[in-house]
Each structure stands twice: as C-alpha cells, then as structure tokens.
Symmetry: C2
C-alpha cells in the first residue's frame, strides 16, 4: 500500500493480528475493524484479557502444561486421580483430550517428539521429569497419547524403554487415530473412542 | 467442559478470541496457545498494540472513517485531491477501495444504507454531512461506491436527489460488481476495473 489509509497504531494492530493462526492479512483487517466497531463490548475486554493472560501465563514445572498458575490447574485439582498419567506431545493435545474425555486424570507434556534429524534428543523433551514422576510412586498407568507419526511412535518406544524398570502399565491410544494424523485435528468422538479402547504398548 | 483445564485468565482470553471474526471456538484455542508459545515475539506486542489502538481509535468527524486521529489520515493527507469524493457504506469498503485503487482522492463513509424496514432513515446515516461537504464547494465528482444491493441502490438514488441542486457529477461503479455482491469480498482487480470504468448515475 503506497499511501497510509489509517494511523500507524491501526496498521500495526492489523500486521500483528495477521500473524495469529486462523487469520490472514485480509481477515486481520476485518478483525481489526470489527474490534474497532465493538469497542466497548469486545475491543477493550479482549485487550484487557490479553494483557492479563500475557502477564500471568507460565509453564507448569511439574507437567509442562501452560496455565496462569504453577503448578497448573490440572496438577492441583484434588478431584483427579494420580494413578493415571496421559503423556502428550503438546499442550494443544492436552486441551483436545480434555475436551474429548471424561477421564479425571493427570498429564505430562513432552514438548515435542524425538527427531534426531532436527537435533531433538531426549534431553530436549520433558522425559526425565516424566521418569521422575513415575519414580515418586503412585502412578500405575501411563497412556502414551502421542501422534500416530513416525516421530511419535519412536518417542513412545523410547519412553517405554525408560520406564521398563518400573511397575507401571504403559498403554497407547487405540488404533482409531488415523495413521499419520495429528490428535489435535480429530473430532472429539474419535478421540474419546480411541482413549476408551486403549491397548497395551509392546 | 465440566472441569477447568486452564486458569480463568486463559479461558476468558479464549472466549473473547472466539468472538473475533475469522476465529471460532476451536481456532480461538489454537490462537491462544500460539500466542502463549510466542510470548515475546507476538503475545506481548499484540497485547500492547491492542491496548494502544483501543485507547486511541476514533471516528473521523469529517468523513466517518475510523483512525487514531480526527480528522483522519486520509482527510488530512495533502497529496489527495479534494475534487473527488468516494461515498461508501462502511469503513471496510473504504479500506478495500484503498487497497484496490490508485486514486488519490477522499472518502465519505455513510455508516450503512437506507432500510425503512429496519428503521434506518436518512438521519441515521452520514448523508447530511455529505451534502454539507459538497455545499462547501471544491467537489466536482461524487463516486457512489455502494454495494450492488437493493438497499445500496436505494441509498444511491436518495443521495443523487439530495445533490441535484449542486454542480457536481454523480457517478457509480461500473457494472462489473456482481449483482447482490458486497464490495468487501471482491478481488482487487475487479474493484480497480469497476472503479476505472465508472459511469454517470442517472
Ligand atoms: Zn501441571
Ligand atoms: Zn476523515
């Protein structure tokens, strides 16, 4: 655009909104204009909510979840059972499983998958802290809810090896997750069914 | 969701993001998580940009555009010619035309269209201020860049009547705009062509 259409503050807002997943450059303009028009109902509240969340968000030192408290809401929830840990690659998978499932359990977020070609080794993931949690005792089942990709399955095998000295059952999600698919994109029914018919990992 | 997954600040952020056009409830979760992960690069800057824009944004009292200054950037731009005014329904149309066109002119934003059934009459739109701008003199052409809808065309006829006492040429966008279509959704080539071959309004 050769000539300025709106003030620099609005142009900058549009540029940053365009970087939000789900919005492109054109949607960012529409979004900005909608916010401007709904100044009291949406723009001010969203602006305040962003400032507050950006300020308060932290990574849970126990499980790797993101939240505004550390330990996180899930780790401190007294109604969840400690005996089952669901291991996920990413926080988005944790959120997807929470939406899909009625299991009142706890999680462990790896923060990725083993990927030697990308230089991601065991120490780059939250695997050591997972082993520590199991070593503390009280965990009887680990559900490996990793993506059905090569990297996900490699990571699952590695974790199973690391846990072989412990009295813990290691399971994985039922085949029902499409091969090569990512948990995060699945519908909740598929996810819930896959979780229910999970099988022993061998 | 029966049990809390994340702190109330994050849940509130997701709820408000879901109201932004282009994002639904699920995209809002992905967007929130992306923001959290890109805290320094995106979350803080976007939060600051929103606060600043929300604080500073205002409606131009001369043309009806939204900007962070009043009069707006377009009204105060000395490189634009005063002789041509493009009349649009909405600020989004102004932005679309600016992106599409090389015309260095000024605008007038009506803020809607005449719609007796919805109780929108001439005094609910910025029509009186348009007539005043023409009465000031210096405007030789009014381009009615309203949507090709019944309401848009009704509004165009009304404005043409109101301007019949002035020495001003009233034109409209070339037929090239699909009938029933909204300017805002058109590609820039179509909009530029329609603007170039505009015809006398009669
Ligand atoms: Zn936690
Ligand atoms: Zn203006």
């Amino acid at each position: 655009m050769p000539k300025p259409t709106a003030g620099p503050e609005i142009e900058r807002l549009i540029q940053l909104l365009a970087k939000v997943p789900g919005l492109g450059p054109r949607s960012a303009r529409r979004a900005a204009l909608h916010l401007i028009k709904k100044k009291e109902q949406l723009f001010f509240p969203l602006s305040a909510a962003m400032a507050e969340a950006a300020e308060k968000v932290k990574v849970c030192t126990r499980c790797g979840n993101v939240d505004t408290s550390d330990p996180c809401t899930i780790c401190t929830d007294p109604r969840r059972e400690d005996a089952t840990l669901i291991v996920v690659e990413d926080v988005s998978d944790l959120w997807a499983l929470e939406r899909a499932s009625a299991m009142n359990v706890r999680y462990h977020v790896l923060g990725g998958t083993l990927s030697p070609l990308d230089g991601v080794g065991p120490d780059d993931l939250n695997i050591r802290s997972l082993v520590s949690r199991v070593a503390e005792g009280g965990v009887s089942e680990i559900i490996l809810a990793v993506n059905a990709t090569v990297e996900g399955q490699t990571t699952a095998h590695y974790i199973t090896d690391q846990l072989s000295d412990f009295e813990v059952k290691v399971t994985r999600l039922a085949h029902g997750v499409p091969v090569g698919g990512e948990l995060d994109y699945l519908d909740e029914g598929t996810l819930a069914a896959a979780l229910k018919s999970r099988t022993a990992f061998d």
